[in-house]
């Protein structure tokens, strides 16, 4: 059964379509890249999936339920593209917070990752650099054993070494029942990680295919294909 299914989903912002009749199904065990230029609807797509936005038309099914229900929230780990954790909390308090609310939270994994990335648990979010804040949010999201991970630009603001660490974390967390959707414009970095890619343009899915199939049939990397498709 699909972990995420969009049926003719449209989202209008004041008459302008951020998402336009999207039909998409994501199967379990897949790592999917949601790719497209800025403003193509990537964030809107993810926010609709976790119920932070209501679709103007169409239907969304996520982990067998509707978006925005407590039961689906319990199975979906969402990493927003902005800072959403309260700035007055320390990393350790955030770990407690996640453990309080999420039954699938793995405290040991979170603490290990904090120590791997040299983040002091006693540090308040307010006192952290932008990059460290992003790492903390990502650690919290990845430390859950969720059925679906929705990661909005998870590697945008971190250095290449951390980027590698984060990507290997996503692989190490891989679970054949679970799926990961990563939105990014840094395609070269994530390409090897992906099973399939979805190209979004002006709110529409213009391409949805397996990475290896694309490389085989087009004779180029997804990164190169992206540059060709979205040539300015």
């Amino acid at each position: 059964m699909a972990v995420l299914e969009y049926r003719e989903v449209t989202k209008l912002y004041g008459g302008v379509a951020a998402l336009d009749g999207v039909d998409l199904t994501i199967e379990p065990g897949r790592i999917v890249g949601l790719l497209g230029p800025n403003g193509c609807g990537k964030s809107t797509f993810l926010k609709l999936a976790c119920g932070l936005l209501a679709p103007t038309a169409g239907e969304i099914e996520i982990c067998g339920g509707r978006p925005g229900q407590p039961a689906t929230h319990a199975q979906v780990s969402f990493l927003p593209e902005r800072m959403a954790v309260p700035v007055w909390m320390t990393a350790a308090q955030l770990v407690d917070f996640y453990q309080d609310f999420y039954g699938d939270f793995r405290r040991d994994v979170a603490l290990q990752m904090l120590s791997d990335l040299h983040i002091d648990p006693a540090l308040r979010v307010r006192e952290m650099s932008k990059g460290t804040r992003e790492k903390v949010q990502l650690i919290l999201a990845m430390s859950r054993a969720a059925l679906l991970y929705l990661l909005d630009e998870p590697i945008g603001g971190v250095d290449p070494a951390t980027r590698d660490y984060i990507l290997s974390t996503i692989i190490a967390n891989y679970n054949p029942e679970a799926s990961v959707i990563v939105s990014t414009h840094l395609i070269a970095d994530v390409e090897k990680l992906l099973d399939e890619v979805v190209f979004l343009q002006n709110g529409q899915v213009i391409l949805h295919d397996e990475v290896d199939h694309l490389r085989e049939s087009r004779g180029m990397s997804v990164d190169a294909l992206f540059r060709e498709v979205f040539k300015c």
Binding site: G29, I31, S168, I171, A172, K192, D212, M220, S221
Partner: protein, 122 residues
């Protein structure tokens, strides 16, 4: 092992080629137990499904075999490894010849050049 990927060939095909090299070169000797798919995928930075696909193909080729509980091993059939080694060599030579032909060398010229080049080394 070092993993390197070029951009235009499917990743699973590149994984197969690189693991073949590791086996025929003896880096992974016959009978050696392989790391888990997940660990290998994390090491290479690739999708675990892709690594799984490469392993399935290597199993089909008879270079590795899996035991239900114990894991996956390099084959102990040395003749099979030798055969694969020869295939790898033939592929290398073919690539080399194609490149030389593009430069406009005839087979005879190539043979002479190779002889000259290897004489100094031995």
């Amino acid at each position: 092992m070092k993993w390197q990927f070029s951009s235009d060939v499917p990743i699973y095909a590149q994984l197969i080629a690189q693991i073949q090299t590791t086996i025929v070169s003896g880096t992974w000797p016959p009978g050696e137990r392989l790391p888990s798919v997940r660990d290998l995928a994390a090491e290479a930075g690739v999708n675990p499904n892709t690594m799984q696909r490469a392993m399935t193909e290597l199993e089909r080729q008879g270079l590795v075999y899996s035991q239900r509980t114990a894991g996956r091993f390099v084959t102990e059939d040395r003749a099979r490894i030798e055969q694969a080694r020869l295939q790898c060599a033939q592929r290398q030579i073919q690539t080399f010849l194609d490149g030389m032909e593009q430069l406009g060398y005839t087979r005879e010229e190539i043979r002479l050049l190779v002889e000259q080049e290897t004489k100094g080394e031995s």
